[in-house]
C-alpha cells in the first residue's frame, strides 16, 4: 500500500503530474471572482468563504479523471486487479494520494488566496479548517466516481456530473461552518463536525464503491 502511495505521489509531483496545475486553477477561479462580483470589499468578504470553497471543489475535480484512467491505459490496472492488496485498499490509497496532492495544498494556500478576497482572520482560519476536513470527502467520493467512469471515453465530464451533486452536503456544511464562525449566535462546531463526519463516511464508503465499480468494469 505504501508502495502505491509513494508511486502516485511521485507521479503527481513530477513534471506533467498536475499538482501545480491544480493550485494554478484554484488561483484562477479565486482571482476571477472579484472581477465578476465587483470591487465591493464588504460584499467580497461576505462571499469570500463560499468562493474559496467553490474553487476548491472545482480544482479537486481536475485530477480525478486520470486517477484510474492512466493506470488503465498503460496496463497497470490489470496488474492492480490481480494484486494481493485488496482492491478497496488500493482505491483508498489512490484517494489518499489525490488528497495529499490536491486537497491538502488547497487548504494550505487558502490563507494566501483569502487576501485577494479581503477576508478577516477568523473567516480565513475557519475556511482553512473546513477545507482541511472537507476535501478528503471530495477525493474519496471522486475516487469512486473515477473508478466508475474509467472505461468511458470523455469519462471526465460524466465524472463531474456524477460527483458534483454528491459534494453538495460537504459544500453546505463547509460554507455553513465558515459563516457560523463569524456570525455571533451560530455555533461553529456542529457544521464543522458534520463536514468531518461526511469525510470519514466517504473515506470508508468511497473505496468499497470504487472497488466494486472496478470489478464490475473488468473487460
Amino acid at each position: 500500500m505504501s508502495a502505491l502511495l509513494l508511486r502516485d505521489l511521485r507521479l503527481a509531483l513530477r513534471a506533467g503530474g498536475g499538482a501545480a496545475t491544480v493550485l494554478l486553477f484554484y488561483l484562477a477561479v479565486v482571482v476571477a471572482m472579484p472581477f465578476a462580483i465587483g470591487p465591493n470589499a464588504q460584499l467580497l468578504a461576505t462571499v469570500g468563504g463560499a468562493t474559496l470553497w467553490i474553487g476548491a471543489l472545482l480544482a479537486s475535480l481536475l485530477g480525478l479523471e486520470r486517477l484510474f484512467q492512466a493506470d488503465r491505459e498503460d496496463g497497470s490496472l490489470d496488474a492492480m486487479l490481480v494484486a494481493r492488496v485488496p482492491l478497496a485498499l488500493q482505491v483508498f490509497t489512490k484517494g489518499l494520494a489525490h488528497w495529499l496532492v490536491t486537497g491538502l495544498p488547497l487548504a494550505l494556500v487558502c490563507p494566501l488566496f483569502a487576501l485577494f478576497l479581503n477576508l478577516d482572520g477568523t473567516t480565513t482560519l475557519a475556511t482553512m479548517a473546513t477545507l482541511f476536513v472537507g476535501t478528503p470527502a471530495l477525493s474519496f467520493m471522486g475516487a469512486a466516481g473515477s473508478a466508475l467512469t474509467v472505461s468511458l471515453p470523455r469519462g471526465g465530464l460524466l465524472l463531474s456530473v456524477l460527483v458534483l451533486p454528491l459534494c453538495i452536503p460537504v459544500l453546505i456544511f463547509g460554507v455553513g461552518a465558515v459563516r457560523a464562525a463569524t456570525t455571533e449566535p451560530d455555533p461553529f462546531l456542529p457544521p464543522f463536525l458534520l463536514v468531518s463526519a461526511i469525510s470519514l463516511f466517504f473515506a470508508v464508503l468511497g473505496p468499497f464503491a470504487g472497488a466494486l465499480a472496478l470489478r464490475q468494469g473488468r473487460e
Binding site: S2, A3, L4, L6, R7, R10, L11, R14, A15, G16, G17, E73, D74, G75, S76, D78, A79, M80, L81, V82, A83, R84, V85, R218, E219
Partner: protein, 211 residues
Amino acid sequence: MELHAQNITVLRGEDVIIEDLSLSVTRGRAIVLRGANGAGKSTLLRALAGLLPLAGGTLTHHDHTGEFADIPLEHLCHYLGTDNAMKPAMTVAENLTFWRGFDGRPHLHVDEALDMVGLDGLQAVPFAHLSTGQRRRIAICRLLVSYRPVWLLDEPTSGLDAASERQFNDLMAAHLEDDGLIIAATHVPLDLADAQTVVIGDEPYDVDGSA
C-alpha cells in the same frame, strides 16, 4: 502446483468467445495457445487471470506442497498483457521497485532482473525514453522481480528482436524448471520443451505456420 480449467465459457458483452473449453497444466509445463486473430486467445488469458468473469465452468488449482493451496488463483498469476504496465514518467528502477513491492513475494533484485534481460545500466533512465523492444524487456522483468508460479503471457515477444526472443525463451525455461507454469498466446514458435499446443477457435489453424 496444477491448474485446471473445466468447461469454461467466457463472454464479451453478449458474444460467446470461449465455449466449453477445458485445459490443464501442471508444474514445469507450458501451454501455447494458438489461433487466428480474434479467436479468443487474449480473452481466455484474461479469464484465467481473473480479469474477466467466467460465464460457466470452473477454474481450480491444487498444490501438493500446500504452499499455494489456500491462495486465490488470481494472486498466483503474473499477467503480461499487450500493455507493459509501466509509468512513462518514472525511471526503470522506480517502476520495477514499485512492482516488486506491490506484487508481493519479492524474488530477484531489480539489478539482477535487468541483468537477466540484458538491460543492466538502464536503471536511472525514464521508461518513456526506451525503445519498444526495451520496454517489452522491462515489462518481462516484472515477472522476475516478484515470484508468482503461473505466468499468463499475451504475445510476450512482440517487439523483441531475435536475440531477445532467445533470451526470453531461456527465462521461460528457467521458470518452468523452477516449478512454474506458463500459458502463452503467441504466433511465434516458442522453443519450450514439452509445450502442449491448444488451438482456440473454430477456424482451421495450421499449427506450424500461420492461419
